[in-house]
């Protein structure tokens, strides 16, 4: 069998400002159904496109601003003007909602989405002119008149689509099947948002790395949070192939890797193993955005008089290929897993997925430059009483490293600042779970000074109520020797 060293040749990320879609996040949807006046409260607290684009964690996510700025700029981070308007967009674009909704209609090959014809007239020139959108905008959506749109909405056979805080609907998505709970308009919209956002991340990857053409992508692994299927097979899957098709990767096939928030790490490991074994030459791992998590903590944000910060959809893509002599190496010998017999407590998880591989590779904390875990933006989670997730993880990790003899107790105090990464990712679990850091990792391990970074993520399997267990996985990326 052939053996090739798998490397991260490149990575991309995109953010989509989606204020009009926040109402279809799981929590806002349930709250608005229960108390319709919530919609008005929600809309009054949404950020404008400019505000969301200037929001420091979003700028860090896209690589426009260094991660260190999160330590330098005092909170609140919202409500501040963009400090560096002309800074480069290193990893991907900040995409407007109107263009995104247009792409959602174009991605809907079964024509469940209809757009108001006037809206399409407004947005189609942009979709066909912007290089990122062009390859995705080669077909036309289903169009309706304003009167027809109103009549469809009145029938109540689906859900209306809005952009921003405009009360006038610009489109409509109907249920695909009246007796299939897996194909309701809400589920279709959720899946289409994943498909489009993931395809945008793949397109950014292709645009920013010309060595990877559409035809060179052999396989796509989606680690997104969704369940594509029907009533006979909920979560049947292969969103990855739908993304490959929409993104124009005509020679690619694909599959989905499911593992709650931790899915990006097993996807990276699987992709690297496929390259290492010679099965495929170029694998793309992609995580699309999670519509249900929009506005997840909006009630806390309203209560505290803050903007609703969970107003962006996030996606990221990673190109795994063969050793090119310069790209960071995915060390398959470093992979850590969380065995069934390990306990569910955080310290036990970290012992399994961090300490054990470090023991195996004879690494100390000093020999790892970055430990990268769940990078949820604390400005979103702290007001919701969820605490600072990265900080809590790093405190426990420091204790585990000390107890495992990998670090001196005196190094615990500033461990996060020296070896960790502060939170900046939207609360879309899989995106926050190390995937958000991949573009940064690629940059740090090629242009920067870092020698390596240790990625790990944890999965709340118990949420699906099939087991009380959690899961987790880890892998080390290293600068090319």
């Amino acid at each position: 069998m052939a053996s090739f060293t798998p490397v991260v040749n490149g990575a991309s990320s995109v953010l989509i400002h989606a204020p009009g879609l926040v109402r279809y996040g799981s929590k806002p949807w349930r709250e608005i159904q229960d108390r319709p006046s919530r919609l008005d409260e929600l809309q009054k607290s949404l950020q404008s496109h400019e505000q969301a684009e200037a929001y420091l964690p979003n700028r860090v996510f896209l690589g426009q601003t260094p991660i260190s700025s999160l330590y330098e700029v005092e909170r609140p981070w919202y409500g501040r003007p963009s400090p560096l308007a002309n800074d480069r967009r290193a990893f991907g674009d900040f995409i407007d909602e109107r263009s995104f909704v247009g792409l959602v209609a174009l991605a809907d090959v079964f024509k469940h989405v209809s757009l108001f014809e006037g809206f399409w007239q407004d947005i189609s020139p942009r979709l066909r002119a912007v290089p990122l959108f062009q390859p995705l905008a080669t077909v036309s959506p289903s169009l309706v008149t304003r009167d027809r749109l109103r009549a469809d909405i009145a029938k109540g056979d689906g859900i209306a689509l809005f952009t921003g805080t405009d009360s006038q609907p610009i489109g409509w998505i109907r249920h695909a099947h009246h007796e299939d709970g897996s194909l309701t308009a809400n589920v279709l919209l959720e899946n289409l948002c994943v498909k489009v956002s993931a395809a945008l991340a793949v397109r950014e990857l292709l645009m920013r790395h010309p060595a990877l053409s559409e035809q060179k992508v052999d396989y796509v692994l989606s680690c997104s949070e969704e369940a594509v299927g029907d009533r006979y097979q909920r979560g049947g899957g292969n969103l990855a192939k739908a993304v490959a098709e929409f993104a124009g990767c005509v020679l690619a096939s694909g599959m989905d890797i499911k593992n709650f928030c931790a899915a990006p790490i097993p996807a990276l490991v699987t992709g690297a193993a496929l390259v290492h074994s010679g099965v495929f030459e170029n694998v793309v791992v992609v995580g699309g955005a999670s519509l249900p998590k929009l506005g997840m903590k909006f009630l806390y944000h309203l209560e505290k008089g803050m903007p609703v910060l969970e107003d962006v959809l996030a996606a990221a893509a990673v190109w795994i290929g063969r050793d090119d002599g310069k790209s960071p190496v995915i060390n398959l010998a470093s992979v850590g897993r969380h065995p069934v017999r390990s306990g569910a407590a955080l310290d036990k998880q970290l012992k399994a997925i961090v300490l054990e591989p470090m023991e195996r590779l004879d690494l100390t904390a000093a020999s790892v430059d970055r430990f990268v875990t769940e990078l949820h933006n604390p400005e979103i989670t702290v007001p919701a009483n969820g605490g600072d997730i990265p900080e809590r993880n790093y405190k426990m990790l420091a204790a585990v490293l000390v107890s495992g003899g990998k670090m001196a107790r005196s190094e615990m105090q500033d461990f996060m600042k020296r070896k960790g990464v502060p939170g900046f990712a939207p609360t879309q679990g899989h995106i926050a779970s190390a995937l958000a850091y991949l573009p940064h990792a690629h940059r740090e391990l090629t242009e920067g000074e870092a020698r390596n970074c240790f990625l790990f993520a944890r999965a709340s399997l118990f949420l699906g109520q099939m087991t009380q267990l959690s899961d987790g996985m880890s892998v080390l990326l290293a600068r090319h020797p």
Binding site: A344, L346, E374, T381, G386, F462, S470
Partner: protein
């Protein structure tokens, strides 16, 4: 077990709410397992 009397859990019914980034329900179950209480509901929540 030391603390049983102080906690006064013997004969009580317990609802356990754990948190994945803090103390999960399974760990709390282990900690109170021999205190004579009946666990009627136990769940771990994920807030992200």
């Amino acid at each position: 077990m030391a603390g049983t009397k102080e906690l006064g859990l013997a004969g009580k019914k317990l609802i356990i709410l754990g948190e994945r980034d803090g103390v999960p329900a399974q760990t709390i179950e282990e900690a109170v397992g021999d205190l004579g209480a009946e666990i009627v509901y136990s769940t771990t929540q994920c807030f992200v």
